[in-house]
Amino acid sequence: MTTTRHRAAARMIAAIGALSFLAACSGNGGGGGSGGDAGNYPEQNITFVVPFSAGGPTDTVTRMIAEPMAAKLGAKIVVQNVEGAGGTVGAGEVARAEPDGYTVLMHHIGMSTAPALYKNLGYQPLEDFEMVGLVTEVPMTIVARKDFPPATLPDLVNHVKANAGKVTLANAGVGAASHLCGLLFQHAVGVKLQEVPYKGTGPALTDLVGGQVDFMCDQTTNTSGQITAGEIKAYAVTTPERVKSLPDLPTTAEAGLSQLQVSVWHGLYVPADTPQQVVDKLSEALKVALADPAVVDQMAKLGTAPVAAADATPQAHRTHLEEQLGTWAKIIADAGVEAS
């Protein structure tokens, strides 16, 4: 009698084990593999590595385009979050992966700032990757606690110049988009402010709403909710054009600070030496996904839009990355920031 019970229970455990095993495998499907003939690509699942946590803006964008890209390619796309060290852990993993097109990296502006921030990066953005294409450029907003005295961007500039020793500038940690934008702001205005780093945007925004810190610069995806509700005040958006979801917010150029232009651009990468045919297929699928009305619609709700079809190409992506690497190397060196 006891043996049958044992067996029943053991079967149950085995079932649970099998379930968790399946869950682990489905998350890891694709990657590695023998590759096979580039002409028949894709023959198995494709893994999209997101080097940031699930639920962040980069993760959301990736999941949005994964579905239409999978439909176009005729293969399943699995999104895998490999977090750590400002995205460099995930990027390093893809750099070392088989160059067969089954491991693809989605990375943002951090690709161009990592070489300046990290001494022992372990990979070279231009040498160790093939660019597939740009995806989207998310605008950023300069926002402050609602009782912060300055009313407009020029006011803010004057205020921080006069009170450089008192004003606090929040960011979401070294290498985060908000950190980069903050550096750029200080560079453009010509002041050095007290930065207050947080572990991610959520807590930083919480303290901004609570009035614990003075101001910060972050992506519209994170700030537009609090801006429309009047929980924080917004000074400007950092792109050449206004954002549809915040029509009253002037651009930095309109408000007289045209040196401050920055957006969180995203791009897709595969390891260097991936066959050209494979890169072209991925790039083609990306273009189709970015033209998908559902994707356009979902991105609009996030306050952003797909890049123009001409930018969703390997060439445009490489040119943009080269230009950005140069820009950030200078800004980061001037600011004297270094992560390791």
Partner: protein
């Protein structure tokens, strides 16, 4: 009355067939991922998020919320049965819960956890409905200095977690704090204690530490000799709590609910403290202090209630201010936005059906969880009868798989081995893993807020005394320290006097 109208609206939304259905799907999935160590609610919600893009917004949010609190519910099961906590809150449940299981009282332990969770969930839902917006405003008053003092208070109070020597407990807390320092410093970006291993930049994962220190170390200890090995599969005495048990869990459940509801509102990590603090309080007020750590049912009921209440009220900052307190809620912010709803203070007025529907669904979800879990207790308890030759390798196998699936980092699996051996050595030295785990969870919070408070105040340490909230917690911490140390001093004096005579 407004509140009744709102609740009526909420229930009429939540009781729609598809909403009840997806609420059930959510709590079922949540229970499942809570039971499996490693596969956490964050990964589950992330995977399901794109599917919910096609749902009605309220249905999507009901399901995602169900996964979150369902997982809190399920997490206690493995903690009690096989000493395998999947989250920091469940580590506290494991202390007395697993001890009860070893004594053949897994049934009452699971039932106490389920009943406590249900009562806490229900009361916290009421708190959410009645006082969400004002509570959120209070929570926003907490600045970095206040969080520092709160966490310090929590650490001092929680020395009570230790069964034996206070000195060893303090040493374990310190070791835990040090382990929590591993990884990239958020203020400078510089790596600490990583030994040039890029995989350690993100720090050590909590699940690896918990699974190693509790689960693997426990298995190693059990393998020592035949005697203890059979203790794991000891005879199951009763499935349901006795009348005596029921009487004993009333107070802990109510106190735990109150504590958890209050701490859960704080977006800066209050919910982490809920179960630890509840355990410490129960041990302090109990007449049976010596039973704690040896299978006291109060030590299961209190923390489980606190944990569930906190899981519920931690939705307050999200729903009323659009501020996520947990990675799962960050994902839910994404779900809000994709559905064209801007999370923030306007949700209550612009989308009343969604706001109140979600709240009402939480109560329905709690009912579903009880209906789902109580009948399962018999099944779970039977798991303990599996011979250890089968059970132990199984536990290690799916703990390793679950941990790996967290972030596909092999280091997380190596860490289980490391912490398993460390845990075993520490048990042999009479040191307990719980205080270490507490230090590991709270240490980084303590450091982060200390440094942030000092950065904002430009190095002026007086902020900790001039900010009223902070000053109150520091005073409480001093009081707790005095209460904890006094008896020891008195006892030593008595010993000294006894020797004199």
């Amino acid at each position: 009355m407004d509140l009744l109208d709102n609740l009526a609206l909420g229930f009429s939304t939540a009781f729609l067939v598809q909403n009840v259905l997806y609420c059930f799907v959510g709590v079922l999935l949540g229970t499942a991922v809570g039971v499996l160590p490693g596969i956490g609610p964050t990964a589950t919600v992330a995977m399901l998020l794109p599917i919910t893009f096609n749902f009605e917004p309220v249905t999507a949010l009901i399901m995602l919320a169900g996964i979150y609190y369902g997982a809190q519910y399920g997490g206690s099961t493995t903690a009690i049965l096989i000493n395998l906590p999947g989250e920091s809150s469940a580590a506290v449940t494991a202390l007395d819960g697993h001890e009860m299981a070893r004594q053949g009282r897994a049934g009452p332990a699971l039932a106490a956890a389920a009943i406590g969770s249900f009562v806490a969930g229900t009361l916290a839902t009421v708190a959410l409905a009645v006082a969400a917006p004002p509570l959120a405003r209070v929570a926003l008053q907490f600045g970095p200095a206040d969080y520092f003092s709160l966490v310090l208070f929590g650490l001092i109070v929680s020395i009570a977690l230790a069964r034996g020597s206070t000195l060893k407990a303090l040493a374990m807390i310190a070791l835990g704090v040090l382990l929590g320092m591993v990884g990239q410093d958020i203020y400078t970006g510089l790596p600490r204690f990583v030994f040039d291993q890029r995989e350690l930049y993100g720090g050590i994962d909590f699940v690896s530490v918990a699974v190693g220190m509790f689960g693997v170390a426990e298995i190693l200890r059990n393998l020592e000799d035949e005697q203890t090995r059979t203790a794991v599969v000891s005879r199951v005495k009763n499935l349901w709590p006795t009348r005596e048990d029921r009487r004993r869990i009333v107070g802990p459940i109510l106190r735990g609910t109150g504590l958890g509801s209050a701490l859960g509102v704080l977006p800066g990590g209050g919910h982490v403290l809920a179960s630890f603090t509840s355990y410490a309080v129960e041990k302090r007020v109990s007449k049976r202090q010596q039973e704690f750590g040896r299978g006291a049912i109060e030590g299961v009921a209190g923390p489980e209630s606190a944990n569930n209440a906190a899981a519920q009220t931690s939705f307050i900052p999200l729903l009323t201010l659009g501020l996520p307190a947990h990675p799962v809620m960050a994902l839910m912010v994404g779900a809000f936005i994709v559905h064209g709803i801007t999370p923030g203070p306007n949700v209550i007025s612009d989308e009343p059906a969604l706001f109140w529907g979600l709240i009402a669904s939480m109560w329905i979800g709690n009912v579903l969880l009880v209906l789902l879990n109580l009948p399962l207790i018999g099944v779970w308890v039977r798991m303990l009868r599996i011979p250890y030759q089968v059970l132990f390798p199984m536990i290690i196998l799916f703990a390793a798989i679950g941990t790996y699936s967290l972030s596909f980092n092999a280091y997380d699996v190596y860490a289980i081995v490391f912490f398993g051996i460390l845990g075993y050595v520490l048990i042999k030295c009479g040191c307990e893993p719980a205080p270490l785990l507490l230090g590991f969870v709270l240490g980084p919070l303590l450091e982060e807020n200390l440094r942030r408070a000092l950065i904002i105040s430009r190095g002026d340490a007086s902020v900790f005394l001039t900010r009223p909230i902070s000053a109150v917690f520091l005073a409480l911490a001093v009081a707790a320290l005095v209460v904890a140390v006094l008896p020891a001093i008195r006892r030593r004096r008595e010993v000294v006097f006894a020797e004199d005579e």
